[in-house]
Symmetry: C2
Subunit: 439 residues, 2 copies
Amino acid sequence: MNIILLSGGSGKRLWPLSNDVRSKQFIKIFRTEDGTYESMVQRVYRQIRKTDADATVTIATSKAQVSAIHNQLGEEVGISVEPCRRDTFPAIALACAYLTDVQGVDPEEAVVVCPVDPYVEEDYFQALKELGEQADKGEANLVLMGIAPTYPSEKYGYIIPESEDNISRVSCFKEKPDAQTAKAYIDQGALWNGGVFAYKLKYVLNKAHELIDFADYQDLFDKYGTLTKISFDYAVVEKEENIQVMRFAGQWKDLGTWNTLTEAMKEKSVGDAVMNEHCKNVHIINEMDVPILAMGLQDVVISASPEGILVSDKEQSSYIKPFVDAIDQQIMFAEKSWGSFKVIDVEEESLTIKVTLNAGHKMNYHSHKNRDEIWAVIQGTGRTIVDGMEQRVKTGDVITMQAGCRHTIIAETELKLIEVQLGKEITVHDKQKFPLENE
Amino acid sequence: MNIILLSGGSGKRLWPLSNDVRSKQFIKIFRTEDGTYESMVQRVYRQIRKTDADATVTIATSKAQVSAIHNQLGEEVGISVEPCRRDTFPAIALACAYLTDVQGVDPEEAVVVCPVDPYVEEDYFQALKELGEQADKGEANLVLMGIAPTYPSEKYGYIIPESEDNISRVSCFKEKPDAQTAKAYIDQGALWNGGVFAYKLKYVLNKAHELIDFADYQDLFDKYGTLTKISFDYAVVEKEENIQVMRFAGQWKDLGTWNTLTEAMKEKSVGDAVMNEHCKNVHIINEMDVPILAMGLQDVVISASPEGILVSDKEQSSYIKPFVDAIDQQIMFAEKSWGSFKVIDVEEESLTIKVTLNAGHKMNYHSHKNRDEIWAVIQGTGRTIVDGMEQRVKTGDVITMQAGCRHTIIAETELKLIEVQLGKEITVHDKQKFPLENE
């Protein structure tokens, strides 16, 4: 099976655990059998591998997510990097060009496209496989997955099938309706459109060449910024006459809000948390190093990270976005290709950060124009290169770097350091990268 | 007026803002007219000064609170330091010896004793003054303040006066009753015992000499650890025949729980906090650097500090103590005589701390047996002394100190530094102090 997972943009609806650089799909919130926690993307990837160990998985995403994906899924997973966001049609076209030109997939093969963040069980992946097999048959240009509705939701588009068969031609599509209309659709046998579909690779490649003037993957990548934003539904699905839909009646949840997300949690809390016996339907997700104590609460979610603290009635948590938009805040933590960082102190003319480098990884060789930096190694061993001079470092070593000085650190073991930034205008944009000689 | 303020021990009922080293009376929670915030002890001290600019104020407290008191009230306030906790009779006896032997107060003068943390208005301090004046008259050995009850509380002891006059002889005392009994007392004209009383200094000095064998203040201080724990009520009040009570009918609140404390707050929140319009009777006290967002909550208090986060139904917040006792945690922040510190990162073999020194102040000259330390100055100027070597320091300077090395830092301006501690056994007890030569 060839599968393209669409990994969407940063969402604020799960603040403070999602932010401008970490999307909800990377929050480690689901307890696995061995007692560790996995994220939505890790869960889905593990489930795909279990259903089809040989699946070619390609994640279509933005540059900002590449580090987090490699950290969570390893270096092997295929990533089609969108140079900027241009909605789903350009993203899927780019991923298809990547599959043929970079991965060497035969354009006659079927491809399944689905979002990276549904909360589903293994029958869903079995259904994806069958969806691909149906596309392989070539009975239709597109085969959609139609999800059996569990209630008259106003959140989804509806697919009206021609028959009640497991596989049917599509009669028409309906945009997000009100609840009453949704109920009428469901009575007619309508299915939710969960944005899951399959096609032969050549079908979308041809569509792409019809709508975009490009030679191959590299050319499409290079001109990506000039493309018009357009959704796959609008550019392709709504204009296609020859579509089938395959029913899926298993568990399918869209965990987009704290309310729906906590419903899927196996435990009451993740992280350091205590509740008294008068708490009912309370969930706590604590990514901070200090304890949370909850007493006498009902239907409440508490979530804390270095970005902030949310305490919300579960129903109300769906309306979080405008409040989070109003919070003007620098990024307080992030996963990077080489590890992670967390801001631990903010002053007007200084910023103190805890940096964790994974074993064998290094930062870019870089300099800052407007700030000096101090590194204190608090754990591990490695090497620093400062203005070309290489030096071994270990716990307790201190490295001072003036503004303008080029520097990097290369971790041998896992390496942790406290970085003190000093200057009048400290910003993440003050960074010049340089190639490292002899590395 | 001579006034002794009893500043009680560390309380956990206002966790996470009070902890083993910071008592509730030091939490800055009350907004003043100029927009800044003051603590209970600052509020009471300001109110006393306003009522009687010449009052001799002595705070009877433990060693652990001395730094916080000087930080919040300045260097001028008198402090009678209890070498260890021995309940209220020894504490009041020591403070009285301090008043005569150290402050030179005439034993014929009246002294008023009251807790440091009632939430009261200025009429209360006017009443304290009158209480002292009544004691001056010498009509009774002790004059108590009887607080007009507002409801049949089970939390207070009751004073039964002989008459309904403003000043009356005391008929008897009643221990904390149940609500029904309390109601019966109130119907008889009983008053709450708020632990406020006045006497001539010589009266308590004589009592002290009767019960304790000591020569003077210094002698009492030196043998303080050997004294029996006994309350002033038990040792003196209950045995005294000649007592008057003076009525006080103004506002008097004991802010011992989050529920009562938030009732006294003028604003819904202190610190970085946002509530949506569906929050009703919610209070947020946020001492962290990141925002708290509350949505759709009712009758809830949220409180966050570097020690932890409390989210509690207001009623339930009175039952916090056993839960906090169960949280085994190192001290994460503290006020010191020279400034303050905050733990900003904890690892197995390192601890990173932000230290703020007030201008003109210095740490003790000290060394650690089992840890190396690194200082990075992030703001201000000063001098370090490391193994006797003095050096000027400014923003950006780094000082490294091996275990065993003696060190201090002296702030010229306000000085902030990041201190990285490195070692296998990091504890506050690993500290040897030394005298500083030529300082």
